[in-house]
């Protein structure tokens, strides 16, 4: 599974992307977040508050119940801020 991190998630985890092989019981975005949080102190800091995190599976926005598979590209990032705007 290919993982991508953006904005402060990338800063906290320390890499922009990584390949992982989660155990079979990791079947949803929420379960992936919970599993990733155990991988390192940086991951734990990045995933401490799942409410602040958005995800995309294969480049489409996905909610926490969305299925994830070994062949997926999964990205984690903060809510988008395309503009702070007037």
């Amino acid at each position: 599974m290919k993982l991508l991190y953006f904005a402060w998630l990338r800063s906290r985890i320390g890499v922009a992307e990584e390949e992982v092989a989660p155990p079979a019981e990791v079947a949803t975005v929420a379960q992936l977040i919970a599993w990733l949080a155990t991988r390192s102190p940086g991951h734990a800091a990045a995933f401490a508050n799942p409410k602040l995190i958005r995800a995309a599976v294969n480049q489409d926005y996905a909610d926490v119940g969305h299925a994830v598979r070994a062949s997926d590209e999964v990205a984690f990032f903060p809510p988008v801020t395309g503009g702070r705007g007037p």
Binding site: F77, V80, T81
Partner: protein, 149 residues
């Protein structure tokens, strides 16, 4: 026409391209977003994006606008990388037969860009650099979108 690029763009040239060789266009409405500096204490802003997904989401936003209004042409040019106050960030331009749909679709596209295009802003100010958080209103809209997909 959708482009995500580091380089600056020429709004006049982009508008001319939209209308080139056509006689059915009655008007073009456009929006150019700039990096707002001085008053906010912003010294520079770095726009990070998700290559691949950004283009996909911008294309999806264009499809949605075309579903709502009869549009003849749509152009979205969005920059990424480090930008200074006063620099152009984004161009949204909509060509239609009549001004009503051109204005409406241009505003719609610009609003949706803010909540659905995967861009994140790192602002450099007097107190260092920090990631801009989504505004409450944007957050709600982003959440609604996430549930829909």
């Amino acid at each position: 026409m959708i482009r995500v690029q580091r380089e600056d763009f020429d709004p006049a040239a982009e508008l001319a391209k939209l209308a080139a060789g056509r006689t059915d266009i009655g008007g073009i409405a456009s929006f150019v977003g700039l990096v707002r500096g001085a008053a906010d204490g912003v010294r520079a802003m770095t726009l990070e994006h998700y290559p691949g997904m950004t283009e996909r989401q911008l294309a999806a936003i264009e499809v949605e606008a075309r579903r709502r209004w009869p549009l003849l042409e749509v152009a979205i040019v969005h920059r990424h990388g480090r930008l200074l106050p006063g620099e152009r960030i984004v161009l949204v331009a909509v060509a239609a037969a009549h001004r009503g749909e051109a204005f409406a679709a241009c505003e719609f596209l610009t609003d949706w860009l803010k909540t659905q295009a995967p861009f994140w802003k790192l602002e450099e100010g007097a107190d260092g650099a920090h990631w801009i958080e989504a505004r409450a209103a944007d957050e709600g809209r982003a959440g609604r979108w996430a549930k829909r997909s």
